[in-house]
Amino acid sequence: MKTQRIVFSVALVALCLTIALTVRGARQGGGIVGGKVTVEGMLAKPKTINMASEPGCAKMYPTPATSEDVVVGAGSALENVVVYISAGAPDESSSPTQPVTVVQKGCRFAPHVVVMQTGQAVQMINEDSTAHNIHPLASNNREWNKAEPPGTAPLSESFARPEFISVKCNIHPWMHAYFAVLKTSHYAVTGDNGAFSLDNLPPGKYTITAWHETLGSQTQEVTITGNETVPVNFVFKK
């Protein structure tokens, strides 16, 4: 019995070490903040979207598309959460030259939450055979509204100030996206497993913020001393 327990403990330690080494092997030093975002509470079934007015888009969905206000994966994992360093990030001055891309396809924006840094270009592509308009309802930045009929060249814009911007297509009222404009490059957007990881963090104190479009935002403070992984989880309540 006792040996069994020891063997088990040794195996567990070995497993942890392997995981830690694998994760670290991929990075060039620095600490990691990682974990999972989940949601608790009564969640209504996502509303189905009626695309009857746009048959070309409607038939791209074998089962009707559903609203992306709250998207939950297996194990209550919360999708489309932006997790980022809201204070203490070491890299707030530069913006990448590579653009981020958002595609209008099947009368939806993909991805639904588009993260970009201040000053970084966002390229907007219309792959549908119908016209769209891209209308970011910005307040900290300037609000604008541009038409993108089918077959036209991608549009490119950038935002100078950090802001979570609701983006509409007025022609198709169900189309909704968010532009998350951040100062830092240390961000992640959760997928259907709710997992996130912020890497390459030099020692220091950081504020980690998790933002969701309808469930609000939460913050946690973490301290990195070396190359360790600090587990951080967020639980949103509905």
Binding site: W144, E148, I171
Partner: protein, 284 residues
């Protein structure tokens, strides 16, 4: 005595500091407007609808539809400047002078030019955006080419291809498939312009005004800017076609009518504007 002088200096400094940070000027041609003068005019003529804070929440706002402009957002429909940029002082001056057709905002022609310039300056004190940024550069508008049926026919193609009809309707009656669900940026219902009622356009009456409206877009509304997707020559063709949708005697309508009457066979072959029938049946 000395203490009194110092106190006096501090008071003067504070007062001047306050005016420097909040005062605004406007420049319309040779006219220079001052917000200090505009404030009194605003309180006399504008406050009832636009409110003391300029946020469009004046006493009358509840009974006004469309709602009064919220100046704190610094988002304006009628601009000569690209979508997402601040309008010029002249744009704001013209908007006050012209008023907004089919709304509660009258044309303020009874006020002097100086009065209206002062009001423009005061309106700019309601948003910090006027401190952070300067007005956009007005879009370039090349001279209008002569009206010809080819221009109108091409404009008609663009009306189909740009999907103007989605909101404005196949005949421009403001009844397109997306018209019913349109909302402005404050989520208030808003209707697309109906060309058939023959009313003035929101931002002017000339062909150049019409060109400017769809090339810059009406910020704060669903009407987007088309300047990224239409070349100037295309834009003029679209202007010429749009004029044929109005019930007035326009030179464009004359040219169009003559063509339809003299070329009935060709006119009959024109595909109706609206959804692609093949697409409707689901054969993309």
């Amino acid at each position: 005595m000395r203490l009194k002088n110092i106190l006096m200096a501090v008071v003067v400094l504070l007062a001047s500091g306050a005016t420097v940070s909040f005062a605004q000027e406007s420049h319309i041609g040779n006219l220079q407007g001052r917000s200090t003068a505009g404030k009194a005019l605003y309180r006399r003529y504008c406050i009832g609808c636009h409110g003391p804070q300029g946020d469009g929440a004046g006493e009358n706002a509840a009974w006004v539809d469309p709602k009064p402009r919220d100046f704190t957002a610094a988002t304006f429909k009628c601009r000569s400047t690209p979508s997402g940029t601040l309008p010029t002082d002249q744009d704001l001056f013209d908007a006050i002078t012209r008023g907004f057709v089919n709304t509660s905002m009258p044309a303020w022609k009874p006020l002097t030019n100086q009065n209206r310039a002062d009001l423009v300056a005061y309106i700019k004190t309601f948003s910090a955006k006027w401190k952070d940024a300067t007005a956009g550069s007005p879009i370039a508008i090349p001279a209008e080419p002569p009206v010809h049926v080819d221009s109108i026919l091409h404009g008609r193609e663009l009306f189909q291809k740009m999907e103007c009809w989605k909101c404005h309707g196949p005949e421009g009656h403001g009844n397109g498939p997306a018209a019913a669900t349109l909302t402005d940026s404050k989520d208030n219902p808003i209707r697309p312009y109906n060309f058939a009622i023959g009313s003035r356009f929101k931002c002017g009456v000339t062909n150049e005004d019409l060109y400017r409206i769809f090339m810059t877009g009406l910020d704060g509304t669903p009407m987007p800017s088309f300047s990224d997707v239409l070349k100037p020559a295309d834009a003029w063709d679209l202007v010429h076609f749009l004029r044929t949708l109005q019930p007035m005697q326009t030179k464009e309508a004359e040219v169009w009518k003559t063509w339809v009457e003299t070329q009935p066979a060709q006119a009959k072959q024109l595909k109706p504007i609206g959804p692609d029938q093949g697409n409707l049946e689901g054969s993309l």
